[in-house]
């Protein structure tokens, strides 16, 4: 098996007086979609933000493709080819769809063929190209946020709860988009509360609880083991659908 693309070893993160991550250890295999699961408050978002350099780890290391990026500044981490889609989506509401995507394309104007590829997943973005992103619906904003992350080829996508608060039809739309993305060998670390989405998309899985990783393995194994699901997540995946 090849060396993982991303490795976290003993990562601790403090936010103010709170000790959120308390020794996070896990690896994200290349070319796979790794689900990061866990209850609310387990530390999933903090893990993504720590990888992205938005919060600095107080101990431990974050290694990306051989680079120790633990103390790197966020722009330098992004320039390695890591894209982040926060839970809040982080779209620029006053900028048009076009401007949001242009800004995300650091190498110049977005590549036309790449845009056409994105529009196959999210045709609404083409339709509302000149509309301020703040006027899009919640689902369309999420589509824009994900499109912004993939408007240029990236090596790692960090995506935080993309299906949160969305209608089932839009969730299916996103699942299809992620399925297509997986075919491009993009490595993805996806935080998700929707276990239907998690089960259908995940190759690997890491489960967090109280700021630690409590389980790592293959998603298929976790999906097949109801006892393990109950132990790790409190409920079986079927009950979460």
């Amino acid at each position: 098996m090849s060396e993982p693309l991303l490795k976290l070893a003993g990562v601790n993160t403090h936010i103010g007086h709170y000790h959120i991550l308390q020794g996070v250890d896990f690896a994200v295999p290349r070319g796979e979609l790794t689900m990061l699961l866990g209850r609310n408050g387990a530390g999933k978002t903090t893990t993504l933000r720590t990888i992205m350099g938005l919060w600095t780890a107080s101990a431990g290391s974050v290694e990306f493709d051989g680079h120790d990026i633990t103390r790197w500044q966020t722009p330098n981490i992004a320039r390695l080819g890591i894209a982040y889609v926060p839970e809040s989506m982080g779209i620029f509401a006053g900028l048009s769809v076009q401007e949001n995507l242009t800004l995300a394309s650091r190498g110049g104007p977005p590549d036309e063929s790449r845009l056409d590829w994105i529009f196959r997943f999210f045709p609404a973005l083409k339709k509302f190209w000149f509309l301020p992103a703040g006027l899009l619906s919640g689902g369309q904003k999420q589509m824009l946020a994900i499109s912004r992350a993939i408007v240029e080829p990236r090596r790692l996508l960090l995506i935080d709860e993309p299906t949160k608060g969305l209608a089932p039809s839009i969730i299916n739309n996103l699942i299809e988009a992620f399925t297509e993305l997986k075919k491009t060998d993009t490595t993805i670390l996806l935080v998700e509360q929707n276990f239907h989405a998690a089960r259908s998309l995940g190759d690997a899985v890491a489960v967090m609880d109280s700021g630690r990783i409590v389980h790592t393995g293959r998603m298929a194994e976790l999906a097949a083991d109801e006892e393990l699901q109950k132990k790790l997540l409190g409920l079986s995946l079927d009950l979460h659908q």
Partner: protein, 351 residues
Amino acid sequence: MTATGPTPAAVATTEAGDRRPEARLPEARLDKIPLLLVPVLALLALPLTGSASTWVTLTVAGLAMGMMIFMMASGLTLVFGLMDVMNFAHAAFISVGAYVAASVLLRFSGWMQEDNFLLNMAAVIPAVLAAMLVTGILGWFFERVIIMPVYGQHLKQILITMGGLIVAEQLIVVIWGPDMIPLAKPETLRGSYLLGEVAIEKYRVLAVVAGLLVFGAMFVVLNRTRIGLLIRAGVEDGEMVESLGYRIRRLFIAVFVAGAALAGLGGAMWGMYQESVSVAIGGQMMVLIFIVIIIGGLGSVGGCFVGALLVGLLANYVGYLAPKIALGSNILLMVAILLWRPQGLYPVAKK
């Protein structure tokens, strides 16, 4: 694939690569109501002023004052929007700009007194450029030395920028002395253009033109360039801009320097308008500047422009009609606008 709103089939009918929205779709529309407040205010004042000529004079004076306030305020609103910094020392940039311009103009006083527009401009333009250069450098120093250590700490920002303002004002006294410096307008910009019974002061016309040029330049930079796109995005969500790989700190410095230089330009223009320069020139304007950026919506250059025009016009109309309430009229305007739109005329969607 299930799509929201449009179906893939509907979109497929659009030619590939053509990203123009269809006519029936909602379009981004400029909120014109705040913009309409300017002509509405002017028209409301028309019957009250008694004569058309007085009204024109007051309106041009108000527009000129508004444009100069806009020059001074636009940088501050961008700095607040982008960096979340409330810089009370902005007043120092205005004062220093006025003093530097005065120093240069005094050296060219011979050319200023000539009845030759080109010679006058040969004195005014270097004075204004020098004011912008010096205040730009001062802005860079302030950002690096005074502001940078207190990013994200609002109470400390207020204290340290107030302290910076006091130090800068005392340095002005050391360099230029405590006395007011008289500053004559260029000879060809003295007096008024007479259109029938209407007298329009020449310098005010110059101020309006200069303000429009500054606004136009800012509009083009903010809306037609990549750096402008970055600034607009940074005003909304700086963290996300960094997550896209842009070093926003460099943008902070550039905007801070540009904002300080614009304040210097505004100070130079205001000094010539007042025909005198004193240490308090910046501090006196700060109240109006704060009102303007709050009315406009913190971080909004368009809002700042409309707010500055409203403040300038109202100050002149009320100053003529009811001088006793002139001082409080702009505060009342701010209260009224905030009751109507608590985030200002053009609120910026901040994270």
